[in-house]
């Protein structure tokens, strides 16, 4: 590069948007006299083909080494003009844009003189900055063509399938013994009333049998190192104590097993054995021993020997292995998709709803199990805990743990209105002479076929909707039945409603795994606790951590079709990186002058991306930046007490002239 920069200044009329307010000729004249400016021109539409060609021509003819374009916001056309100067052989970072439209003529339309004065200051500033700009390089780093999907619910399954079908090797990690997630627990799905398992299990099998998918169930991600394109992930495989390669899932073991525990899959409404298969269609179809319950692990005789081991004795496949140990495997992936799902709100936090006080007050997910053919009642609608009485009046209460600031949940859980309508319909189908009431704040039925579905509940199934927020539920001391107290805000009167069964439509919360994974991967969470997308509209499945994507209810409450759509979106976003085969670093990353660095480590403390580390080089501690992790915020440059750390394109020597020029003019 020659010593003195040769700057070309290009002022755009933007039709009358700029030229209609300020005198562009005068501005051009002013620009032409600024230091190092070789040429200054104006043109009607600089972003048009002729405008760009003019710049390209000038760069070549006048040997311009810097280009200043005074036009619209750089957020608008900086990429355009960067490409433009690049096509003329100039490094794209040697372009400087001046925003004289959004920040000047459009906001000072009625003060043309002052606007011109300001435009001059802005152009002078850009010229001052342009002189100190440096060419920057965007590096291309190779990408490992494999992906990790965390979570085996419907979102994780579709994310995995989409990637696998595109030829990407996928590791699917699920913390429970089977994939399928919460959807496997559902009876039917709204608004079409498809059988949930009927549509889910084929997908589960497809995943299990896919040659590109390696299923790691009963497993947890414990450590993640590296960055986009090259993550090194440690996965802990918990011991099942059953050899999955030998187990034929004949079920003999469970029949003989003497120990039992509440069945999580039935929300504790039924029991399972210490050795169990979560549900008959579980994938993998392999039994698992729960060491917290199993007598082999929990009880010893006087000699210190385990008191049980019956399953091992009777297993025809000899699959039982009590000595199985946890195992850590290490995998190398280019991208990660988080699909760790949700948990339901714990209604105990709403004390006035008496959940846990009366067995007649249950959650919607519990009711879902009651409705389900594989559930505790085989699909018959009966009252817990003795499953004898058919409830004749069921009251559904909406928004339990949603839109409720008293329990710190300001958001709407999105699915409860519709699943409640579904459950009311299913109840009425099975107990036609029963009464179904829904107490709601608002019915939110925005979705394809949703409003129609809700109308069906009201009109076809005579479900009674009462608008109001339940004040409290009391238990009748004699009948022991719950009595709901609510103000019907439409009728304007207090209502007391005795119910045989109360179903609390609990909201959705981020799962524990989601919280853990967020911390591990340094993905931030939005105030609601769910994972924070990079941008709510433009980058809804990306995160601030490059190469890490999110989908399903880990990102926020949503229904099945949305989860599936988002899963495919996350997969396609991951594919952008994986298919391209490389990642490109940005130009404006931090860089350290090691000669000046004292290794004090202040920069390490501020980096949100762990892109800086202190390394010992030539016996000295110095900061070292990992370009691919750096996102170019510049916080480290502001923190560096030595001036050793600088952000490229925003160095002190590039910003200070800007500030001085602006402060003086």
């Amino acid at each position: 590069m020659s010593n003195e920069p040769r700057i070309g200044v290009y002022i755009c009329h933007c039709g009358t948007n700029i030229a209609g307010v300020i005198n562009v000729e005068e501005l051009t004249e002013f620009a032409s006299k600024l230091p190092n400016v070789v040429i200054a021109k104006n043109y009607q539409f600089m972003c048009s083909k002729p405008g760009q060609e003019m710049i390209i021509e000038d760069i070549k003819q006048h040997k311009l080494s810097r280009v200043v374009v005074a036009a619209c916001s750089p957020r608008m056309h900086e990429p355009t003009f960067r490409r433009c100067v690049q096509s003329a052989g100039l490094n794209p970072y040697l372009l400087e844009m001046v925003n004289i439209r959004e920040h000047c003529t459009w906001v000072h339309e009625h003060e043309p003189d002052k606007a011109l004065e300001k435009a001059k200051a802005l152009v002078a500033t850009a010229v001052a900055r342009a002189s100190n700009l440096e060419p920057l390089e965007e590096k291309e780093l190779p990408v490992v063509k494999s992906a990790l999907v965390i979570g085996g619910g419907i979102a994780g399954l579709f994310a995995a399938l989409t990637l696998a079908n595109s030829g990407v090797k996928v590791y699917l990690v699920e913390s429970s013994p089977t994939i399928g997630g919460k959807m496997a627990m559902l009876d039917k799905t709204f608004p079409t009333l498809d059988c949930s398992k009927c549509i889910l299990t084929p997908i589960m099998n497809e995943v299990a049998n896919h040659p590109n998918i390696e299923l790691l169930t009963y497993a947890e991600v414990v450590d993640v190192q590296g960055s986009v394109g090259d993550f090194k992930v440690k996965v802990l495989l918990k011991p099942r104590y059953v050899d999955p390669t030998k187990c034929k899932a004949c079920g003999e073991c469970a029949k003989k097993c003497p120990a039992s525990a509440p069945n999580e899959f039935d929300m504790g409404l039924s029991k399972r054995k210490a050795i169990y298969l979560t549900f008959p269609q579980a994938v993998p179809t392999v039994y698992t021993i729960d060491p917290k319950v199993c007598l082999y692990f929990t009880k010893r005789d006087r000699m210190g020997r385990p008191i049980c081991g019956v399953c091992q004795k009777i297993c025809p496949a000899q699959a039982i292995d009590f000595n199985m140990q946890p195992k850590t495997v290490e995998i190398n992936v280019g991208a990660i998709i988080i699909a760790t799902g949700f948990e339901t709100f714990d209604p105990r936090l709403k004390k006035e709803y008496k959940y846990g006080v009366s067995p007649r007050i249950i959650t919607s997910l519990e009711f879902e199990r009651i409705l389900c053919a594989t559930g505790p009642t085989g699909g018959k609608v009966l009252c817990p805990p003795d499953w004898k009485e058919v409830p004749k009046r069921v009251v559904f209460i909406q928004c339990v743990g949603s839109r409720d600031l008293t329990v710190n949940v300001p958001y709407c859980s999105k699915v409860c209105c519709m699943y409640t309508a579904k459950q009311a319909i299913l109840y009425k189908e099975r107990v036609p002479d029963g009464e179904a009431y829904v107490i709601y704040i608002d019915v939110r039925a925005a979705g394809k076929g949703f409003e129609e579905f809700y109308r069906r509940a009201v009109e076809e199934f005579n479900v009674t909707y009462i608008k109001g927020r339940v004040g409290e539920i009391v238990i009748d001391p004699e009948t022991k039945k719950p009595i709901i107290r609510v103000e019907d805000t439409l009728a304007g009167c207090m209502i007391e409603l005795e119910a045989d069964l109360v179903v609390l439509a609990v909201g959705l919360r981020p799962s524990q795994s989601t919280l853990k994974i967020a911390e591990l991967l340094k993905v931030s969470r939005s105030p609601d606790g769910f994972l924070q997308e990079l941008h709510a509209k433009l980058y809804p499945v990306q995160t601030a951590v490059d190469g890490v994507f999110i989908c399903g209810c880990a990102q926020g409450p949503k229904d099945i079709p949305d989860s599936v759509a988002q899963a495919k979106a996350a997969a396609s976003a991951a594919l952008e990186i994986l298919a391209q085969g490389f990642v490109r670093t940005i130009g404006h990353v931090a860089s350290v002058d090691k000669e000046l660095c004292s290794g004090c480590g202040i920069c390490v403390s501020v980096c949100p991306y762990d892109a800086i580390a202190i390394k010992v080089e030539d016996g000295r501690r110095v900061a070292s930046v990992e370009d691919v992790k750096c996102k170019g915020c510049g916080s480290c440059a502001a923190a560096c007490p030595s001036g050793a750390m600088q952000q490229r394109h925003f160095k002190d020597i590039q910003l200070m002239p800007v500030i001085k020029t602006l402060a003086r003019t």
């Binding site: 004292s598 480590g601 202040i602 501690r621 007490p641 030595s642």
Partner: protein, 328 residues
């Protein structure tokens, strides 16, 4: 620039404490070596050359003038301007000449408020006639003159053109020797350079640097008298406001070795515009709090932030001309 074999050297002090003079004497045996290599033409502390003698020298005749202390009196201005004219190289020696030093903290107040306190309000003063020192006092024998107390203290570079700086309060013998060696070597660094010290911050040579945790995260800073720090662990990591990260190295970490945090007497590094502002930025960067209340809590014990970050450099702050000085 090539210096003659026996260079002519002047030493001068302004509003200084004499510690810089002591620092020269503390060269011990090395002082004799230095004195052999140079010809001292002015050193009021040690030699009785008069200003007139300096005036008689031709312009540029002095090869190097080492000037310490800030400029606080009219006479200081007069002398340093004279020395500038007579010297090829002017070196601002020590924190006060370099940055203003601790006496520069007086710039938080107006000149009148200082006079008012020292001569009228101080508890031991008995001054019913409200006498203040003045520039000319008539006595029965004749007029007595005093130099004028200036509005503010200035570092040397704000009064005359300074070629080089030697940092420290006072500069250590090693720093002084290195600076003199550099000057005598004939290979002169670019103008404005800081001589004798490191190009990197104190942390670079601090024996405790490697004990720093990976990320510094301070929930609440602490003051040195409130707890007993672990002498084998980074003091900053323990919550003491150690300015080692922002302070030029070269002092051999003497304060740290005495279990006390760095207070910044060696001043900022080359790429740093303002010591205090840069210190603020790094201090803020390691505060592990996210809201205003938390940040204030973290800073809570550090009530006198100005006194911490500008202890040696207030007169060098770019805002010096804008400061609203306190009048009481």
């Amino acid at each position: 620039m090539n210096l003659p074999a026996k260079v002519k050297v002047a030493f001068y002090w302004n509003a200084s404490c004499g510690g810089c003079e002591e620092a020269i004497v503390d060269l011990g045996e090395d002082l004799f070596k230095v004195l052999e290599a140079v010809d001292i033409v002015f050193w009021p502390v040690a030699l009785d050359f008069k200003l007139e003698d300096v005036e008689r020298l031709s312009d540029g005749e002095i090869d190097v003038a080492f000037i310490n202390g800030g400029i606080r009196f009219s006479e200081h201005e007069k002398v340093v301007k004279l020395l500038r004219r007579k010297s090829k190289i002017v070196v601002a020696y020590g924190s006060c000449a370099h940055l203003g030093g601790i006496p520069g903290l007086a710039n938080l107040w107006t000149k009148a408020s200082i006079m008012d306190y020292v001569y009228l309000k101080a508890p031991s003063v008995v001054n019913e006639s409200k006498t203040l020192p003045k520039e000319i006092t008539q006595t029965d024998a004749g007029d007595l003159e005093l130099p004028a107390f200036l509005d503010a203290l200035k570092p040397l570079g704000q009064v005359i053109d300074v070629d080089y700086y030697v940092p420290g309060c006072p500069p250590t013998p090693n720093v002084t020797l290195k600076a003199i060696e550099t000057l005598l070597s004939g290979k002169l660094p670019p103008k404005g350079a800081v001589l004798g010290a490191s190009a990197r911050a104190l942390c670079d040579t601090c024996p405790l640097n490697e004990t720093k945790p990976e990320k510094l995260a301070i929930k609440e800073f602490r003051r040195p008298h409130t707890f007993i720090p672990d002498p084998k662990k980074c003091l900053l990591a323990q919550g003491l406001l150690c300015l080692g990260p922002v302070t030029r190295g070269g002092c051999e970490a003497k304060c740290i070795k005495a279990n006390m945090p760095c207070t910044g007497c060696f001043g900022p590094l080359d790429n740093v515009l303002d010591f205090g502002a840069r210190a603020l930025s790094f201090i803020a960067s390691i505060i592990d709090q996210r809201d205003e209340e938390g940040i204030k809590k973290a800073l809570g014990p550090i009530i006198d932030l100005v006194g911490q970050v500008y202890k040696f450099s207030l007169p060098s702050c770019p805002l010096r001309g804008l400061i609203k000085r306190k009048e009481v």
